[in-house]
Symmetry: C2
Subunit: 440 residues, 2 copies
């Protein structure tokens, strides 16, 4: 065989035939470590897997059985590229919880909200276009932006999340550099990985920056209904930014954390013209979302007490969050800090000066505890002093044990650091790794 | 709001902010017609929907119920980006039917094989790269190639399918034009829309052309197990081209036509290095395929008589194919010709000289019969004299009635044409419409 642009190598004869966008597609170096970390004796504070065992599986089994038996000819058939109309109506009800009043026509159902992220980027971003994201930001979003060869610009956060002043400056600076700013990507509620939530005033400020600069605001909200504490919205879930601007915001929602991630059902709400493009892009990508998964969700929503189920999930995660925070308070050495999440799945931990979370990971796994090093949440190699701790999946006593082990590893690193100087680093910086699904 | 590149219009303020690739994303003009055509009084020979009602829905309902009840914690959770390992093993068994011997490591499960098409193109094609396809070719593939801004080059078919000599010449001509040839896309068995199958010799010739030119061969095989007649492979399904070259072919398979399209489960088999890229691209696109849909298929394959079910489907489609061919023989005016499919879902009809299938469509729908005009299967506006007739979904007597109506419309057109010259055409040529899912 004579490959397209001269022979490749024995490992991959097609190496010279790939598209330019595929050159950046490389597996994260830490993947191999996580293969080890999935052994049951390791406490994993790494994965963002929802605790789906809290669902009423018997009730769901009956629902699905009825669905296939009575509506199989529809549920097992191709469907609309935009998604099932009954489900889109129900998604409207779900979004009312975060203050959004959207017409079912403006909703596009996708194979998880990850696909909605992919489609929005596909529709808006040419190679090189600038996308503004939090520092740190969601691994899966960075993976999408990289796949479309965007220029990703991190903007600092404070305890209210993305900083509007810094955002405005970053946009201006990007324009001065000759870049074409395209969109602002933000997770306002219970941020992944930072565990921070934007209050009402901050949301308005961010929206103003977007509007003033004529940029699309891409609001990603998978955790919005999983809040524990009041963050300025009383006893209601945080009000979505989209609730205050239907023309300038694309809102992404998901059933992955409120029902089940294995169904892969998410959605986008978009201004009318954008929605049209998203549907056409979705049809090219997958023809249509699964009727089977959509109807499963739809039947679940119409026959099961879903609001009550979300309360069960929330109480489960609150208890685990408390276990994490208590254990951190009790065990972590001086100089270690972390965020206090008011909802969602994650706390963001900062190591004492001089320590390196990426370099430390093999030793943590040897001590039977795993986390995601901060570098994965940046495109530029920053984040070495940070790690993301997930409390969503392990039972509370396992979380406590995991933190105890982790604190021991950090203590040892501090000792080493005091004795020999700064800790070892891996030879290459861990970049914006293409995400492994269980590490989102 | 001040949109990115100056104000858009009232219909879409974002019109100037889209990526270059989104400019070609426009809905097909015939969509509106098909909305009318979905009324029950219209016989639709348009859609490529499998007849899923032939499944044993009670058995499937029990299978799914057991799955959720007993393995819910896994089936409802995030999974591997490459797909469930048990299912990948089973896919190996399914592919053995078409002569493929593949390791589960080389299989990537996708959200329908449409997504596999999207991922392969994403990984290989830069804007402008040349892709060689049959004339006519699958609407959904043309939609993907257009989304990635490929240069699509149609190559003529004869009664053995894609012509190797013409293919070779087209590749040479493209290189002379300064294009960068990237891949050959073919549907060797029971072609959509042409209803033609490549015999064993033709397959070898096509593979040779690909190998000699160092081009990837993308073999799309959704219908391979749905054959009625011997097309040179004895009583076995047509042997896949991939069976004879593991390094140069990416093979796409699907459960949409052998089990159920609404599950959205397909797959790609690729050379090792390509497979790695596909998994990374898949993770960026959707994180992971649905464990729920995958496990449903996996349970079905391990508990239900799937080979026997495929026989039931095949017999159903054979009966409908016969109904179509008989009715065409009986009713069509002289000068009309069509292909005789030996399997799959489609026959490709050529109208008498001077008639235009696109222009005729509104009149056909008024006469309560629908088809897909040939223009949708070309990127260059050709195909006006052709239409695709699907026999997969309507009952045989409906097919007969549909053909009778269609023949009446063609007779009337011939009358008009003899009286007033060539028939009216729509104002714009119907391009490679972004596919509507029910018209694949």
């Amino acid at each position: 065989m004579v490959p397209v642009t001269g022979p490749g190598n024995r490992l991959d004869p097609w190496i010279n035939a790939y598209a330019s966008r595929a050159r950046g597609m490389t597996a994260s170096e830490i993947r191999a470590l996580f293969a080890v970390a999935s052994r049951p004796e390791v406490v994993s504070l790494a994965g963002g897997m929802p605790y789906v065992s809290a669902l009423n599986l018997d009730a769901l089994a009956d629902t699905v059985s009825d669905l296939v038996r009575n509506q199989g000819a529809y549920a097992l058939q191709y469907g609309s590229g935009q998604g099932d109309i009954t489900l889109r109506d129900q998604i409207g009800e779900v979004m009312a919880e975060v203050g959004i009043n959207a017409h079912p026509d403006d909703i596009v159902v996708t194979t998880g909200s990850q696909m909605a992220l992919d489609l929005v980027t596909r529709v808006f971003c040419d190679p090189g276009d600038a996308v503004f994201v939090e520092a740190p930001s969601y691994v899966g979003a960075l993976g999408v932006f990289r796949a479309y060869e965007c220029t990703v610009i991190h903007v600092p956060m404070d305890d209210q999340g993305l900083q509007p002043g810094a955002l405005d400056e970053a946009i201006t600076a990007a324009r001065l550099r000759g870049l074409r700013p395209k969109m602002i990507y933000t997770i306002p509620s219970f941020h992944n990985p930072a565990g921070i939530t934007q209050g009402p005033a901050r949301r308005h400020e961010i929206l103003s920056v977007a509007q003033r600069n004529g940029l699309l605001l891409l609001e990603d909200d998978p955790y919005g209904l999983l809040g524990f504490d009041d963050v300025g919205f009383g006893d209601k879930p945080p009000r979505a930014i989209r609730a205050d601007d239907a023309d300038g915001v694309v809102y992404l929602g998901s059933f992955s954390k409120t029902i089940a991630s294995g169904l892969r059902v998410g959605w986008a709400v978009a201004p009318h013209g954008v929605r049209e493009k998203l549907v056409l892009a979705a049809e090219a990508a997958v023809l249509c979302p699964s009727n089977y998964a959509q109807m499963t969700i739809s039947s679940y929503l119409s026959t099961q007490p879903w609001r009550q189920q979300i309360k069960v999930f929330t109480e489960t995660y609150r208890e685990r969050r408390d276990a994490l925070l208590n254990a951190l308070d009790q065990h972590m050495p001086v100089g270690t800090t972390w965020t206090t999440p008011a909802g969602g799945f994650y706390s963001w931990l900062t190591l004492p000066e001089g320590l390196d979370a990426t370099a430390m990971l093999p030793r943590a796994i040897a001590a039977l505890v795993a986390y995601v090093p901060g570098t994965g949440f940046y495109v530029d190699g920053s984040g070495r002093q940070h790690m993301r701790l997930s409390y969503c999946y392990p039972e509370p006593d396992r979380i406590t044990e995991g933190v105890r082990r982790l604190a021991g590893v950090i203590e040892d690193e501090l000792q080493l650091s005091h004795t020999f100087g700064t800790s070892h680093t891996l030879t290459r910086p861990e970049g914006p790794a293409t995400p492994a699904p269980d590490l989102q």
